[in-house]
């Protein structure tokens, strides 16, 4: 990998990671980040949060440092809300503080700590409405939602359609950009899920498909097909989602990168 040149992350045709046209208050968009158990997306989520807070993903850039180029928003409210079903607030505090993003720069909604104890036995619509209630309406803001599909397992009887209609769609309307992080581990096993009649498997597949159709862009992280390598962690594939034509002035730049994550740094390379 030493011979290859590092690349900067670009998602949109205006050379941006999150275009300024996305959170202008007139549209509600979604970006989908998919990953496997072997390639967890911590660094990518951090980079997207960094882009929103500091203006660019400095942790992925070679030529810039946040101290010199960072341009924080002049808004008093945080531009970004992070909600996670699998990590607590401490986890994000630690990760983002390394990128010089303070606790005041983002809002955290902890959907992980004591979620089961507090919600088990409640009606599913009540649980969903309680979760939705913890997000404020702000069409200029961004929400990062980590692993909402786990609700299909945690709430008895919840279907993928209900999750999409009751939770994802209303949440999209509460913000300018919703970034959904979801696992696609299901598709990486050898089991032929296409022919299955298992309700759980079908619900998970349908949910991922529904999110893909609603998305402007899909960022997919997966390991190399050849297995583990010392100098490559996996591939980042950027593709258009089902709603890619919702903004006429910009389009998603489809691309595929190799990336290497070591300790707390990630480098991108062209494939």
């Amino acid at each position: 990998m030493s011979g290859l040149q590092r690349q900067d992350l670009i998602l949109f045709s205006d050379q941006s990671v999150i275009s300024s046209q996305l959170c202008d208050g007139n549209s509600n968009d979604m970006i989908l980040v998919t990953h496997t158990a072997a390639t967890l997306p911590t660094w990518l989520v951090n980079a997207l949060v960094e882009t929103k807070v500091l203006g660019a993903p400095f942790s992925l850039k070679t030529d810039s440092t946040p101290s010199s180029n960072a341009q924080k928003s002049s808004r008093n409210d945080p531009l970004i809300t992070i909600a996670s079903f699998v990590h607590n607030a401490d986890y994000f505090d630690k990760n983002l503080s390394k990128l010089k993003i303070g606790k005041n720069d983002y809002k955290m909604v902890d959907l992980f700590t004591d979620f089961v104890v507090n919600n088990i036995g409640k009606p599913k619509d009540k649980i969903i409405s309680d979760i939705l209630g913890s997000f404020l309406v702000d069409t200029g803001s961004t929400i990062v939602l980590e692993q909402p599909e786990i609700l299909l397992s945690l709430i008895e009887g919840l279907t993928s359609d209900e999750l999409s209609l009751w939770f994802i769609t209303p949440l999209m309307k509460k913000c300018g950009l919703l970034i959904v992080v979801t696992s696609t581990e299901l598709y990486f096993n050898n089991t032929p899920y296409e022919s299955t009649q298992d309700k759980n498997i079908l619900d998970h597949s349908r949910f991922t498909a529904a999110c893909t159709y609603k998305s402007l862009a899909v960022l997919n992280l997966k390991p190399l097909e050849t297995g583990r390598a010392k100098d490559v962690t996996g591939t980042l594939r950027i593709t258009r989602g089902g709603a890619h034509d919702s903004h006429p002035n910009i389009h998603v730049v489809e691309n595929e990168f190799l990336y290497l994550t070591q300790k707390d740094s990630t480098k991108l390379f062209y494939r």
Binding site: L111, D114, N118, L154, E156
Partner: protein
Amino acid sequence: MSFRKRGEVLNNGSRGQAAVPGRVPLPTRGTTSAGINRGPASTGINRGLINNMRSERGTGPSAVDRMRNLSLRGSSPGISRGPTSSQADVPISSVEDSHPGIRPSPATSQQTTSTGTKDLDKLLGHMGLPLGTSLLMEETGTTEFQSVLAKIFASQGIVHNRLESTGSTPGNTHVIVLSLNQMFAKELPGIYKGSRRDVKKFKIAEEQSKVSVSNLSESKAPARSNDLKIAWRYGLNDNKPKKDDDEVLIDEHKNYNHQFDITSRIIPAPTLNEITFISPSQNVQAILVQMEQTIQKHKDKIIRIVVPSLLHPAMYPPNMFKISTILPLLHGLKSLTKKYEGSCVLFASVSSDLLDQFLLTQIESIFDSVMRLEPFDQTMLQFLERAYKSQPNKVQHGLIQILKLPIFSERGEMHVIKSEWAFKNGRKRFEIEEWGIPVEDNDEAASGDNCSTAIGDGTHDHSHSHSHSLEDSTKNTKVSLDF
């Protein structure tokens, strides 16, 4: 798959402190203070101070409590409500750095505790399991190696607890077992005390150290000179300092992990002050509430949560096999482990053949680290026994696959490592070593019983035994590579 030389043990064959018989005897309650004082002077002093501070607790907030309050974590925001959310404001406990069962991870400096298996500690990349993280040990087939690891994990906690537990002090570790099997406590392995010969020697040395007329008359000469009467010159070394640098390093964390003998039992058996059983047959909320109450009751201790044989049909009610029941339970357990991340670790073992692939994938997604034991089938074991005919101790029992490693995988690093490590379980220890396919001698290959039968699909082709020896060896090589 690697083709390295066979049989290189992870720790280069050295068993460290615990391997030396008698060096780390299981301290009984009466001898704990002696065990503590054996460490470095500063540590001993600190621990003594902490014990003194602990003894003051009855009269009001002690210095330890005040210090602990300085490192509190904030309450969890979000939608957490109800009685437990108010408990989130309660200080999240963290254990003193002087705890003999924790040490900083060499990779991330995070506080880490031992799984009780030294090789597994190394494989995890942190010399143990970092506090606040969880490990799932899967096993394919019908063998029970995972339950051995679960018992050793629990046993290590009991041994740590007894290092500091006396009548007045409460100990430093508590084990919570989510299982119906109350016999689990009585089946925990005891510390390995050496081979029979070593035990005998230790007993003799113990007898000789006692004050008696005969011992006093013999005590003028060093014991070693009795063994080496002819080579008297060796006796000159007796007065030299025995510790080298490596030993000093080991001494720094000498009670961090121990070597367990799975044929022995820990004596005395753990009491209710050391181990708590929670039944998995209750509803999920009751299990989680009971678990949190136990953690809060032992808030100054390291809490080892053990879930042996998760979803074993004999212990778990049928409704637990529903994804909407088992996932909330595991999510709740993980939440507790993170909520009390200064003191909690979670170890679960599961027989993966009992579960369908989707459920297993969902369970794996909950844990911070996942490993899979894949025991060899009978034909492979026969092949290994033939290859290691002269060294039967080298026969491995299966492969250990790494699917996730704590902290590293969460950062986004790719740590799926398959077919690179093999394990073998013995009376003395559970060893993990680099896997390499052993080479069968040509003479043996030509003798007719070739390894292609051993590691193939199990069907024996009689025509092979009549074929040319060169052809046989070529086939052997081919099969080995394919495997």
